[in-house]
């Protein structure tokens, strides 16, 4: 067990935050997700890795219903997912998401980006929303850019704003969909630093990422997926030092070998 895991508060550790039960999904005839079972406890940090096309993004996108599944059940914070729009929106309020391409709203300033859902979803007064937004922007160290438009920021800065924007909703779970894949190498660290800090504060996190250093530092569990299945699931030390399946060994040798 790494230091990070040891220092994590253990309160409510066994409360399931995300429950995925026998999840199956098809794109037409293509079976993208095969019988996925995963339970994420409150405060747990999960890193999902695997080759491209293995269904890892699709899986975490199912958690806030950006993708629809055909079989199985998903529950977030005890709320079971169904096709009811109100139910889906209720779940989404509990789930923050950070995208590979940031997806900031280019026609709004950084501050407005962070206030939008607070004002329209949480119905907060503008002043209060701005206060919360500035708090989180300050935490990702970008408060001084609050009045700028996303187009005026670097990729790393945009991604930090995107994290702040998701945090402003005070979510119970954060989903990261390859948050550093679209960044220039020198900007990856500033985003990872924010994510590591967040992990240390006890946020429940599911990260699809190829940053193995990040996985080693903060993950409680690493999940390896291939061809729509969870192949291996283990604490990072075990996962990296002693992978059980051959497929995992091959993957690790390919990404760590150079």
């Amino acid at each position: 067990m790494t230091e990070a895991t040891a220092s994590r508060p253990t309160a409510g550790k066994d409360t399931p935050m995300v429950e995925i039960d026998h999840l199956n999904k098809w794109y037409g005839d293509f079976h993208v997700l095969r019988d996925i079972n995963l339970t994420v406890s409150k405060g747990e940090r999960i890193v999902v890795c695997g080759p491209s096309g293995s269904g890892k993004s699709t899986m975490i996108r199912c958690i806030n219903h950006l993708e629809e599944h055909q079989q199985g059940a998903i529950a977030v914070n005890g709320i079971p997912m169904n096709n009811d729009v109100k139910r889906i929106e209720q779940i989404r309020r509990n789930v923050g998401m950070v995208f590979q391409h940031f997806n900031l709203f280019p026609h709004l300033t950084v501050l407005e980006n962070c206030c939008l859902s607070q004002i329209w979803v949480q119905k907060k007064p503008r002043a209060e929303a701005e206060k919360t937004a500035m708090e989180y922007l300050d935490r990702v160290q970008i408060a001084n850019q609050a009045q700028k438009y996303p187009g005026q920021l670097s990729g790393g800065q945009q991604q930090r704003v995107a994290i702040a924007r998701a945090l402003c909703m005070r979510p119970e779970v954060m989903l990261f969909d390859e948050p550093t894949s679209a960044l220039d190498p020198e900007m990856i660290k500033e985003v990872l630093d924010v994510m590591i800090e967040l992990a240390h504060e006890g946020m429940t996190m599911l990260c699809v990422t190829h940053e193995m250093g990040f996985a080693k530092t903060v993950a409680d569990r690493v999940i390896f997926m291939d061809q729509g299945q969870i192949i291996e699931e283990a604490p990072p030390t075990e996962f990296f030092n002693n992978p059980r399946s051959e497929r995992t060994q091959l993957f690790l040798s390919q990404i760590l070998g150079h």
Partner: protein
Amino acid sequence: MTATTSNSTFRTEMIEARRAPDQRRGVSGWLRANLFSSPLNSVVSIVVILVIARLIWPLLEWAVIDANFIGASRDACTGAGACWAFIGARFDSIIYGFYPEGARWRVDIVFAMLAILVAWLAVPRLPQKKWVALFALVGFPIIAYFLLLGGSFGLEYVPTRAWGGLMLTLTIAVVGIVGSLPIGILLALGRRSQMPFVKAVCVIFIEFWRGVPLITVLFMASVMLPLFVPGNIEFDKLLRALVGIMLFWSAYMAEVIRSGLQAISKGQDEAGKALGLSYWHRMGLIILPQALKLVIPGIVNTFIALFKDTSLVLIIGLLDMLAIIRAGLTDTNWLGFSTEGYVFAALVYWVFCFSMSRYSQYIERRLNTGHKN
């Protein structure tokens, strides 16, 4: 270490005087830089200027120098050029049509209100945009309706068949523009809807109206519609034309807006979803502001086409500005002034359309947030 001025760090002799900087500002500087920068360019410039002058001069001579501007009858037309006295004599009917003279102040008030509202909304410095916009969309139409039509509050009733001229043109254009944009937005959203029924209705609606010429729509509205409704209900002819024009242009508008919606990346919608925003919030706050900004040129293009096509209402007997001018040409006191009439009509249309075009360019620059996606 000894300090000395004879080393290479310091210069001991004066620099030679430099050539005076090129004159780049002012008229002469601009001319030199843009028209006469080389002998060949100078020759080309002079030739082009001569050709333009050759073409413009006769026009200027006709329209201004040899023209007569003031006069009450054709006896005033003594010059070799245009006789604008014709326009002057018909000016009131060009503006108001057959609207009774005693009630024209009502039209003036509506014109003035329209001008003030448009200016207020167009100039960014003026405050309280939200309330002014609300008034322009709700209060103003009601006031304009009661003022123009009359029949209540002690105002004389003026049936729409007495409406005409620029007043009618503007009424049709403003109603068409204000009506077709929101309907077009709803149709565009409907056409991209996941709900099969909504989508089918929108596709059929759009394809129907786009596939029919506007003239046919107007004929149907004025001739065929009365055949299908019970005899005792009578819709106003202008109202029927307005509805026809609005629906016709909303179909075009829908396709323009849909092209904008398709240019917005899916990630924007997903980001909105992930934040828990509802469909209408996502559309209203995230997707449409970006999509509409992208298609401002297309929207204004449609507005301009709409504005000019209002002149087609003359075929169903509504006397818009162009129809009034045409009617004036058959006035036996003023035979032979068709050129003046049409040039004047063209000029009025051009002023309105060009203003819309310029304003749209200004808006595009203003909304640019430096994001190239």
